[in-house]
Symmetry: C2
Subunit: 162 residues, 2 copies
DNA sequence: TTATGGATGCAAACCGATTGCATCCACGGT
DNA sequence: ACCGTGGATGCAATCGGTTTGCATCCATAA
């Protein structure tokens, strides 16, 4: 359901820095290395697709902590640039752990049937984004872009059109 | 703050069908033409940028109705294809009235400072979207895309970079 | 070892949005 | 022009995701 596409690997999502390296980053910014934080980072490390606060909380297992703590820590990690927040338009925030030096800017292809997620490499409208910024005098322009569709498994019985 | 760019008009947002034509569309789908509905359509007609339920409710004036009625009617209008829902990522739904025959697919450039909105004509990643769909076997692929940045008025005192 | 400020647990609050239910009224049928 | 009916509305309760106030706890530096 959420296995990466084998023919078109997305390496930036598969390799992950070890936990110690992550906690070291916490230490370097004088944030405390607590049990909930380590557990949350461990969960994030194991997931290559955006994951919700609730899913993180559920995946903590024995290292359980309060849901509010999960929310607070994801804010902290986001502020520190260690995770990136994604919005699939369903009113639930999702997060991905970032590699060192990666700003995490990429997009997803989400199945509207089963919620399967494909990581999309590359970013398209960069030139158009700059033209847009210039035209309207905007600065620091970025964008949010996500794709939605039906995955092969969820394709309708009588396939209509592409 | 929200005046359309004069050098690059966005006609699809400026002309609007008369109210009678809108209510006629309601009648044709056997929905009742009620006072709240007319008032809501009138408000939508006057706004060329996406507007929230709460903003619509506030703009009703004398034709006031319950906020829940606004929510319900926007669902109805969306189902009928008369309005399109947009998501600026702040957890609040926004709506635009659609022209006859327009599916409303377009994007926005939103100022993160003052929330000014510029309508963006044209749609970019169509070819890439199809390539993406093909590659992963997805069908009926669409996308959500919105741009964010700082408008000229909100540009920082010491401008950094584009 | 200590003290100190950040982190946590718990519960309440918040906010956009939805819904159950009684009442109301727009509209087709007569 | 009048009825009857089912959709529409008002009101209040509810829901789900998220945030926050506060007392307590504990990771870290001194």
């Amino acid at each position: 359901m959420s296995s990466p596409c084998s023919r078109h690997p997305h390496p930036h999502r598969l390799i992950q820095q070890p936990l110690t390296e992550l906690t070291e980053k916490l230490r370097s910014k004088s944030r405390k290395i607590t049990a909930p934080r380590q557990a949350i980072l461990e969960v994030l490390r194991r997931h290559q697709h955006p994951i919700t606060n609730k899913e993180i909380h559920a995946a903590l297992g024995t290292a359980d902590c309060d849901l509010a703590t999960v929310y607070r820590n994801l804010h902290t990690l986001e502020d520190m640039g260690m995770v990136r927040r994604f919005d699939f338009g369903d009113g639930v925030a999702r997060f991905e752990l970032l590699e060192e030096g990666d700003d995490g800017h990429h997009h997803h292809l989400v199945c509207t049937g089963c919620s399967a997620v494909v990581e999309v490499d590359g970013c398209f409208p960069t030139e158009l984004e700059q033209a847009l910024a210039r035209r309207h005098g905007f600065t620091r322009v970025t964008h949010k872009l996500e794709f939605f569709g039906l995955c092969p498994k969820c394709a309708p019985a009588a396939p209509a059109s592409v």
